[in-house]
Structure formats: C-alpha cells, structure tokens
C-alpha cells in the first residue's frame, strides 16, 4: 500500500511540475490543481497509513490520528478557493491581454504554430 500511495503522490507532483512550467495559463492551472491533490494525499499520510483503526471517539486505545484529516479538510477548502480565484484571474488575463500566455505576450515566431 505504501508503495502505491507514494508513487501516486510522486506521479501527481511530477505531472504538476511539468504542467506548471508550461507557458499557457490553462496547463498552469491544471498543474496547480494536480499539485494540490498530491499535497492533500501527502498530508493525509502524515498520520501514518494504517487500516482498520477506529475513529478517535469512545475509549478504544487504538485509534487513527484525527489531526491530518482535519488538516486535509482545511487544505482542500483553501486550495479549492485559490484555484477558483486563479481560474477567474486567468480568464480576465485572457480578456485583458488578448492571449493566455503567462507572461502576457506571445513571441512573434511562435504565434503561428500555437494557433
């Protein structure tokens, strides 16, 4: 399970970083989303990966760590809001600047091939 989990996080981060380095805003936003998924998974694993553990309710001595779950929830909410903001900003950038390049302008020679 650990191997699967770790490679899942790793693949997500790798794809995320690759997409972040792209020049257009849409891949960048997708990259940010992927990284935030990876981060959420990673945070979740900070409480150690265990199965069949009880919730913290009751008197059982053997329970799962509830804090990472709370952290992940907070991180998801914040990440969601931030992604929404960056999408709106990207759309506005597209309207204001006339293109969706992160730097706000296209290199002339690249103009044709990207269209």
């Amino acid at each position: 399970m650990e191997l699967l989990y770790a490679s899942c996080v790793g693949v997500l981060v790798t794809c995320g970083i690759y997409l972040l380095l792209r020049a257009r805003t849409f891949p960048v936003v997708l990259g940010l989303t992927m990284i935030s998924y990876a981060v959420n998974l990673f945070l979740f694993s900070a409480g150690r990966l265990t199965i069949n553990k009880a919730v913290v309710l009751g008197t059982g001595a053997d329970y799962a760590d509830p804090l990472p779950q709370a952290l992940v929830l907070t991180a998801i909410v914040i990440g969601f809001a931030m992604t929404a903001f960056v999408v709106i900003l990207a759309i506005r950038g597209r309207a204001d600047l006339g293109n969706d390049h992160v730097d706000g302008h296209l290199v002339k020679s690249n103009n044709k091939e990207h269209r």
Binding site: V39, G47, L71, G104
Partner: protein
C-alpha cells in the same frame, strides 16, 4: 474581558470587513469611509492597549475555545508579536486615511479587503501554531490578490497572475513541509515542536531537516529573499501605490516567520538540528542586499526604486535573523519597524509626486514640476535620509546598531563592506531620483489646477508615517529597551515553551 484582549486584533478587523460589506456601508461612499477609518482607529487602539498590557504584565497565551495547547490552537501575544501587530494596525490606519480621498473608489471593495488583509497579517503574527500560520497566510494572500487587482489594467493582470501562481506553489510547499514536520514531530504547536525537535533520533532528524528547509523556501518566497524575490519589484510597482504601501508589511511577515521558526524551533536548543538554516540564511541575505542595491540603482521610476528598497531591507533583516543572537534580534526589530514605515511612506509619496507631475508620473525623467515642491520635496528628503541611514533620523540609529552587533563576529568582514556599499548605492540612487523628480523641469511656469494638490487627508497620512522616524530617534531609549526585552523573551526558549504549554488562559 482582559483575557480576550489577545484575540481582538484578529476579531475587530474581521468585524470591520463584514460591517463594511453590509448595506449602509456597502451603498454609501461617505459612510463606508467613515466606518472604515473608525474601525481602523479602533484596531490601532486595541493593538496599542495590547502592547502596553503585554509590556507591563507579561505575555498572554490565549487558548481558542479553551482547548489547551498542544491540542488546541493558541494565540501567543508576547512582546515580539504585539509589536508587529501594533505596527500593522498603525500602517493600515495610515493607508485607509490616505485612500479615503479617492483611491478607494477606483475599484470595488477596497476597504473590506484592507481589513481582511489586516486580519490575516495580525493573525499570522499572533498565532502559536504552524498550521494556523498557514491559514492566516492564505487569508492575507487572498486579500492581497484582490487588492493587487484594484483599479486594474493590463499590466496589473499580468503581474497579479504571476504573483498568484507563485504564491499558490508556495502554499503547496508550505503544506508539504507541514506534513513532514507533523509526521516526524506529531505536533504543530510551535512551542511543542521546539520541545520535541531536540529529542529526535536517527532518520527522523533528516526528515525534520527537509521539512524545516522546505519552510525556508516558503518564507523566502513571502519575504522576497534571493532567488525568490523576482516577483516583488514588478508586483509592488504595478499595484496601486497605496496598496503597495500596505504590502510593505507583507514581506515582514515572511521575516517574522523565519525569526520564529529558526530561533524557537530550530534554534540553539534543537539538539542535532540547532541553527540548521543559519548558513543558508546568511548567504542568501548578503546576496539579496547586493541584488536589491543593484535594482535600486537601475530603477527607472520611483515606485520600482522603492520596491527594490524593500528588497534591500529584507536582505538586511534576514542577515540579522541568521546571526541568531539577542542583540542582533533587538537591532532587527528596530530596523524592521523603521524600514516598514519609511518604505510605506515612500510609496505614498511616489503616488503624490506621480499625480502632480502629469504624464511623466514618477519616472525619473525631466518633466513638469510638482505643484507643491516644498511639501513634497521636504517629505522626500526626510524619507530619503531615513532610508539611507543618514543622521539624524531613525535609519542612522538602526544602521549604527546593526553595524555594532555585527562588529564582534568575524561576519563583519563580509557584512560591513556589502552593507556600507549598498547604503552608498542607495544614497546615490535616491539623490539622483530627488534631483530628476524635483529639479529637472521641462515646462516652466505652467499653473497647476487646484485639484492636483495633495488632499489634507493624504498629507496627514504621509506626514504621520514620516514623523515616526524622528520620534524613533527621540524615544530611542525606551524603544530600544523594548526591543531588547522582546529579543530576550524570544531567545529564552525554555520559558517560552513553559508559558505556552503550561500557562494556558
């Protein structure tokens, strides 16, 4: 009531922001401005009361919801954090005053956003929990994104997009660092982490080191430390000057977080990890001063110049963080207050000057003279003297203090030349800027229309900020006593841990 005092600098800006969105304030501009100013004054007063209270009767630990540390989240109001809160509230008051004559109506929701930003910054200063610090970082960031877009045009959209994307990556790195540290230490309360980090063994040490250094990446990004400073000059120069003045405190949040984390958690008591970030901080800080000084020399307009001044001040502050000694921290605090206030004043001045020079705005090129040369020129020379560190203003005291605390160590060999040459570069750049802004006129004798003159409220805000510089010299005795007390308290780690973990409310 008095035990809830520590939470008020967070709650009152939140209340203010919500009030400002509700109908009577949301509809009418005069009411909105009055309410915003009144609420800023209340926040500033509460912060001042908290500062006096903490100074007289010792630090406060406020357990939110009465959940005691380390299980609940605590707010820690010690001398350092209340100083930062008071500085933030004061700066916000000046910005709200300045904006209330027109700048706030160039876009929507200016006043609520300013109060949300203050909420985030104050929260980041007061919190005693690293995850809570992340949450407050996000609060202040989302407010800053929107403020950056205020009265937006093309260039702002581009700068804002880059700023937002960079900070989102920063937030992800922050979360990963927190995940690693929680996985290793089992806690996110700063005091509890300081306690646990010294007991680490084996592989956990390396994991904690990775986590701690990832945090450094985040704080370097927020604080604009080389090589993560590239966003700052563009962002600050494209934001509205009044917003940029408020942003002067945001790089200091990064510096403050470094100070907390690398002094308390990874400080001298951290066992195998003591002073782990020190070499990184030191080298990067020196490089930041150099790059900032080059940026100041190369700047083509006053706002970019001021933005690069912010970079230089961050470099100086981080160099002092890296020394990790009580006297260095005390000098840091003095310099931090001074540089934040003066940089904010310079941004506001840049706005006034740009407004009166017509088309050339604040570019350092010959153009129309300003309408009020004596007022603006006088303010500019005070700000320039203070920021360069010439006597008799606060910059001089701060500079002497910094040179004194770095003198004893072998660090002086590197730090003194870099810092002094950078100061000289600042002097050259600011003299040149002053000359071309005020003396190189093209269209002599043209009358300025009355409406171009600075409004009384704007003058009050700028002079209020600038007056802090001589005041910090006149009251240098009590202020430096306070800074030394705050630094001593920060460096007395066992007492801090005891206070948070056993004190409670």
């Amino acid at each position: 009531m008095i035990q809830h005092l520590a939470s008020l600098p967070i709650l009152i800006p939140m209340l203010a922001a919500i009030l400002l969105l509700l109908p009577p304030c949301g509809k009418s501009i005069p009411i909105r401005r009055v309410v915003s100013i009144v609420m800023s004054i209340i926040t500033a007063c509460i912060s001042a009361v908290l500062l006096v209270h903490v100074y007289n009767s010792g630090p406060m630990v406020y357990a939110i919801g009465d959940w005691q540390a380390p299980y609940g989240i605590v707010l820690v109001a010690d001398l350092l954090s209340v100083l930062m809160v008071a500085l933030t509230s004061f700066l916000a008051l000046a910005v709200v005053l300045y904006s209330s004559v027109g700048d706030d109506e160039k876009g929507s929701f200016f006043h609520p956003l300013v109060h949300f930003l203050v909420l985030g910054v104050n929260g980041a200063f007061l919190t005693g929990d690293l995850f809570n610090l992340f949450v407050f970082f996000e609060v202040l960031l989302i407010a800053s994104y929107s403020l950056l877009m205020h009265a937006g045009d093309k260039h702002k959209t581009r700068a804002a997009l880059q700023y937002v994307v960079l900070n989102l990556i920063g937030s992800s790195v922050f979360l990963i660092a927190l995940g690693i540290l929680y996985g290793v230490l089992g806690t996110l309360n700063i005091a509890d982490m300081a306690l646990k980090v010294s007991q680490l063994q084996g592989d956990d040490v390396y994991l904690a080191k990775i986590g701690g250094l990832l945090l450094l990446v985040v704080f370097a990004l927020k604080g604009a430390l080389l090589p993560l400073h590239l966003w700052l000059p563009n962002t600050y120069a494209s934001a509205m000057p009044v917003v940029a003045a408020l942003f002067a405190i945001m790089t200091k949040v990064g510096v403050y977080a470094m100070l907390r984390v690398y002094t308390v958690i990874f400080g001298e008591q951290a066992g195998l990890l003591n002073h782990m970030a020190q070499p990184w901080l030191w080298g990067l800080a020196i490089a930041t001063i150099v790059i900032g000084a080059i940026g100041v020399l190369a700047a083509q307009d006053l706002r970019k110049l001021t933005a690069n001044l912010v970079v230089v001040s961050v470099g100086t502050l981080v160099a002092l963080v890296a020394i990790q000694h009580v006297s260095a921290t005390a000098a840091l605090l003095y310099y931090l207050v001074h540089s934040t206030i003066i940089c904010a004043a310079l941004f506001l001045l840049a706005d006034l000057i740009a407004h009166q020079r017509g088309k050339v705005a604040d570019r350092l090129a010959p153009g129309r003279g300003v309408a009020q040369p004596i007022l603006l020129g006088g303010c500019f020379i005070v700000a320039a003297l203070a920021v360069v560190g010439m006597p008799p203003l606060s910059g001089f005291v701060g500079k002497i203090w910094i040179l004194k605390v770095t003198f004893d160590s072998e660090r002086a060999l590197l730090f003194w030349p870099v810092y002094l040459i950078a100061s000289f570069a600042l002097l050259v750049a600011l003299s040149r800027a002053g000359t071309s802004l005020f003396w190189e006129r093209k269209h002599q004798g043209r009358d300025h229309p009355e409406e171009e003159h600075a409004k009384p409220m704007q003058v009050i805000a700028v002079i209020g900020l600038l007056a802090c510089s001589p005041l910090m010299v006149i009251f240098a005795g009590p202020i430096s006593d306070y800074m030394i007390a705050a630094a001593t308290q920060l460096h007395d780690i066992p007492a801090g841990i005891n206070m948070v973990l056993k004190g409670g409310l």
